[in-house]
């Protein structure tokens, strides 16, 4: 069986890596990674805006953002993909490639999830940081930009990597609307071979595992380092240690 898998890699590695590329659209693993990287890069700024809107005092900003997050969390990603599959061409009036459809959906979906991460990061800093910044004469925007967000985003780096991992996993759903990604390439290989579906899909699982595991491992190591550094920073003044327990009691 292992020989079969090695033979599949030997015969189809180019298809699995870049799809039909010179003779057709870019696909395979390259497409999976480009799609994930693009969607996280676009979802990240959007998620900061959503998080700020959800923390805002103005109900006009808070309610739509909250509704969007609840909606996105309650509906399967597959349904959202199928929605944009017919909505995006309807709105733009053009023949939209499935890659763009998938990218749009992933950006909306991941920015809703990421905004919860950003919100938690900001809330976990405690209100003292904002109060102190305002007392020093920063405006709300200035305090957010120079004091709150840099600290919150630094603490969130591991969660952002985890979101990146889940984005990579979510790109597989593009299979349903024929996005030429790694899963699509593997099913093409399967259709050509016909006799070794187990070997092909096991190979697919292994590739995803290696990529996602590496990133998860990296995120965990970074998380430990950040926790250590913050613990070192926190041990100097005693006061901020009160904040986390307060947050926990508020949640309960």
């Amino acid at each position: 069986m292992i020989e079969d898998m090695i033979a599949i890699i030997r015969d189809y590695w180019l298809l699995l890596l870049i799809g039909q590329y010179p003779n057709g659209p870019l696909g395979g693993l390259a497409n999976t990674l480009i799609l994930s990287a693009l969607s996280i890069a676009l979802a990240f700024p959007a998620s900061i805006l959503f998080a700020l809107a959800r923390l805002s005092k103005s109900p006009l900003l808070r309610w739509p953002a909250t509704a969007l997050v609840y909606f996105t969390r309650g509906v399967p990603l597959l349904m959202l993909i199928l929605w944009s599959y017919f909505l995006v061409p309807l709105l733009t009036g053009a023949d939209v490639p499935s890659f763009v459809t998938m990218l749009t959906t992933l950006v909306v979906y991941q920015s809703a999830f990421l905004s919860e991460v950003v919100r938690a990061g900001i809330v976990a800093l405690g209100p003292g940081q904002m109060d102190a910044a305002r007392a020093l004469g920063h405006s709300y925007i200035g305090a957010m930009r120079c004091i709150i967000l840099p600290q919150a985003l630094y603490n969130m780096i591991p969660s952002i990597i985890s979101t990146f991992v889940s984005t990579i996993k979510d790109t597989t759903l593009g299979y349903v609307i024929n996005v030429p990604d790694l899963t699509f390439a593997a099913s093409q290989v399967n259709n050509q071979l016909l006799t070794q579906p187990f070997q092909v899909f096991l190979l697919l699982a292994i590739v995803y595992f290696v990529i996602c595991w590496t990133l998860t491992y990296f995120a965990n190591r970074l998380e430990r380092r950040i926790t250590r550094r913050r613990a070192g920073l926190l041990s100097v003044p005693a006061a901020p240690l009160v904040a986390p327990s307060k947050i926990v009691s508020e949640q309960l």
């Binding site: 609840y70 909606f71 969390r73 309650g74 509906v75 399967p76 990603l77 597959l78 349904m79 199928l82 929605w83 017919f86 991992v165 990579i168 996993k169 979510d170 597989t172 759903l173 299979y175 349903v176 899963t183 099913s187 399967n190 579906p197 187990f198 070997q199 092909v200 899909f201 096991l202 697919l204 699982a205 995803y208 595992f209 996602c212 595991w213 998860t216 309960l252």
Partner: protein
């Protein structure tokens, strides 16, 4: 687009029946995979908590595999891969008994067990060491201390992530459409193909998914509230 008209689908007996069947299958797949996941998660938790350390790397590998491979790929591996390797008698029997739904339950259940077991483990780990020592000092054996003191508190701590993951399992049940199970997403796509009322049928499907998710979230919030010692003291 022709005028917006929900009754074109809901008033049509054939479409309504397809929709109902889809909802029913989604619930069967959800209930089956949730039960499988929870049962397996408890087994994995037992292995993790037992004083024998040799099971730990196995459970860690299990969790790592299921968390780092996309759920869709896991389902494909089960349905397109392992199904075809089965002895022909078994495969024929399964094919006659809704194999798609059975493999959806197996795939989703095994995958979710990894998440559930990690939720439970971190819940149990957040119970202080003093609880075990106090229980032992009061004369509880290890098993009885676990059963009456540690596990109830651990499960209570684990409720919020368990609820979140129960919702995501419900949403993931829509992936079963890829291996051909006739659940809600499948019904939505079928009705779309037959009726051409894309907007209406997707709206119905989305509202159904959203409302069931919200129901699961509220049940979770209610259970968390009931489990909260402050609420119980008041009642």
């Amino acid at each position: 687009m022709i005028g917006f008209d929900l009754s074109a689908i809901l008033g049509h007996p054939e479409y309504a029946a397809m929709l109902l069947h889809g909802v029913e299958m989604t619930f069967i797949i959800y209930a089956g995979s949730w039960s499988l996941a929870m049962a397996l998660a408890l087994v994995l938790l037992g292995v993790r908590l037992s004083p024998f350390r040799f099971g730990d790397p196995l459970v860690a590998a299990y969790v790592s595999y299921h968390r780092n491979v996309p759920t869709l790929v896991q389902l494909m591996l089960w349905y397109f891969g392992i199904f075809t390797l089965m002895p022909s008698g078994m495969a024929t029997w399964l094919a006659g008994h809704n194999a798609e739904a059975i493999f959806a339950v197996i795939g989703l259940g095994l995958c979710q067990a990894a998440y559930f077991s990690e939720d439970l483990r971190s819940g149990v780990r957040s119970v202080g060491d003093g609880q075990m020592q106090a229980a032992r000092a009061l004369g509880h054996g290890y098993v009885s201390a676990m059963r009456f003191v540690i596990i109830p508190q651990g499960v209570r701590n684990a409720l919020p992530p368990l609820v979140n993951h129960s919702v995501s399992l419900f949403k993931n049940s829509s992936l079963a459409v890829v291996i051909g199970a006739s659940e809600l997403t499948h019904a939505v796509k079928e009705i779309d193909n037959l009726s051409f009322r894309t907007f209406e049928i997707y709206l119905i499907g989305t509202v159904l998914y959203l409302s069931f998710s919200l129901v699961i979230m509220s049940i979770g919030a209610y259970v968390s509230m009931r489990a909260d010692p402050a609420w119980r003291a008041r009642a």
